[in-house]
Symmetry: C2
Subunit: 288 residues, 2 copies
């Protein structure tokens, strides 16, 4: 999906909500466990209920891999169901991959050639040749995105991402001191522009969005951390929204586990709609 299509979907649906499909068999309602594929049955119901209120889905690979072959089958069925029934939904493989070139190329082929997903989350630690294959693989004529980790929503983001860095001696003219995550934002712009790359910035990072928007004024940001992790949508929009919106705000647990009963899908729809209505208000502010 191109950036223009994504922006159109956001305007049309008055939503920039991404629903995270972190489907844990231990948390899904008991009555689904008698289904042949409980994970897919859960996802299908969640998707049908929430699709009117969101513009993206983000299956989290960890949750599918945890069930081995059955989990991967549920992942594949979920992706195919979305592509066949909701072709306007942007699908993100939340995988946090990143490895030496030939290995990253294998991952990229899996997510882009095999599953034809729109985007995959990538960890920056191994640098350019670990990220580039995700930019070059993929079917001709389709647009695939890298969503690079910049400043994540978790406590551990303080361990390395906020370290003050200087460029390596002799490696370049830029010797300005800046946090590691800013270095990631700057360096990675040499690899792709805002039509192929987004960044992960946690909703819990508050005012850091201001600094980030100075470096990446036009990029979409994938923002996890509202809901269960405690970030505020209002604050994210205040400091992070661009004239094109520029945000995909993810909520996983607060939506998909809104109820543990037989009404789980209705409850998920209710929560998703609540977020969508807040988002419509935020979008109102950038109209005209």
């Amino acid at each position: 999906m191109t950036k223009e299509e994504l922006i159109k979907n956001i305007q049309r649906k008055q939503s920039f909500l991404c629903v995270g499909l972190d489907t844990d068999i231990k948390k899904i309602p008991g009555h689904l466990l008698k289904e042949e594929d409980p994970i897919f049955a859960f996802n299908k119901a969640i998707i049908d209920a929430t699709a009117p209120y969101c513009i993206a889905y983000k299956p989290n690979l960890a949750f599918y891999e945890a069930f081995g072959v059955k989990g991967i089958m549920a992942f594949e069925k979920t992706v195919r169901y979305l592509q066949q029934n909701y072709p306007d939904q942007f699908i993100i493989a939340d995988a946090k991959r990143g490895d030496i070139g030939n290995t990253s190329a294998m991952y990229a082929r899996t997510f882009f050639d095999e599953y034809n997903l729109d985007a995959v989350t990538v960890a920056p630690y191994m640098g350019e040749d670990s990220v580039k294959p995700f930019l070059t693989e993929g079917k001709e004529g389709t647009t695939h995105w890298v969503i690079l980790l910049a400043l994540t929503s978790n406590k551990g983001s303080h361990d390395f991402q906020l370290l003050r860095t200087r460029d390596t001696e002799g490696q370049g003219p830029d010797t300005e001191v800046m946090p590691l995550y800013e270095r990631v934002l700057r360096k990675s712009q040499e690899w792709a522009d805002d039509t192929r790359m987004m960044y992960v910035v946690g909703a819990t990072q508050g005012k850091a969005f201001e600094a980030i928007r100075k470096i990446v004024p036009n990029h979409f940001l994938l923002v996890p951390g509202i809901g269960a992790q405690g970030g505020s949508l209002e604050e994210v929009c205040k400091y992070g929204m661009t004239k094109d919106c520029g945000l995909l705000v993810n909520s996983s647990r607060a939506i998909i586990y809104a109820s543990a009963g037989e009404d789980f899908a209705e409850a998920a729809a209710r929560e998703a709609k609540k977020v969508q209505l807040q988002m419509a208000k935020e979008l109102e502010k950038i109209r005209n």
Copy 2:
């Protein structure tokens, strides 16, 4: 597997070779393609041929995930085959995972509870709570390892891992300037000691091993990058070996694709034996 057991295996087999199972269906000999599961057939033959010369295997998840459900089945069969027939081999899931706590916990359960592997490679970018679940999950009474990326073998390792860093203002007393990878080595020692944690250091990094051994004098290092990537075993041993060896040196492509013909397993054995003999010479130097 405990550190003591690993050291005993190294001494007994006079080898610290890890064979990387980066099995690519496009590269395996043509006659195997008529097998029901060509990837597993290839791995089984490679394992039977190379097991006398190595003490560890490292399947690279990217290569299995690329074939969806069939790939995961081949991965599971490979792991089970190793565990049943070669219980003294140390098995590493080369996965480069790392995510927020509840997601890392899912990955950890997959690799440790589900597959009962010895170790998984983890990316440090997201910090402590992304790594810790890999240290706490796992079956009671078994020892599982985190192998954390420190200084990798690829060109992109220069982009961020070598950046000079200072501690975040006000985050701690340590304001010494050091490269990011050293920061990763130091910080992560607060999370686990050398009986549970190893580090990835690329064979192509040469003299950096000297600096690294000052920070982690007793940890095992997983060293990729000899063979196809061009690192030198002799140099790695000169600067990186400890009195207990302290090295797992990986070779993937140079061994498993030593021949593309029907003699692929014999050729792999020949290459593995060649490396093992070099390793025996290096081990000679630390005897007594």
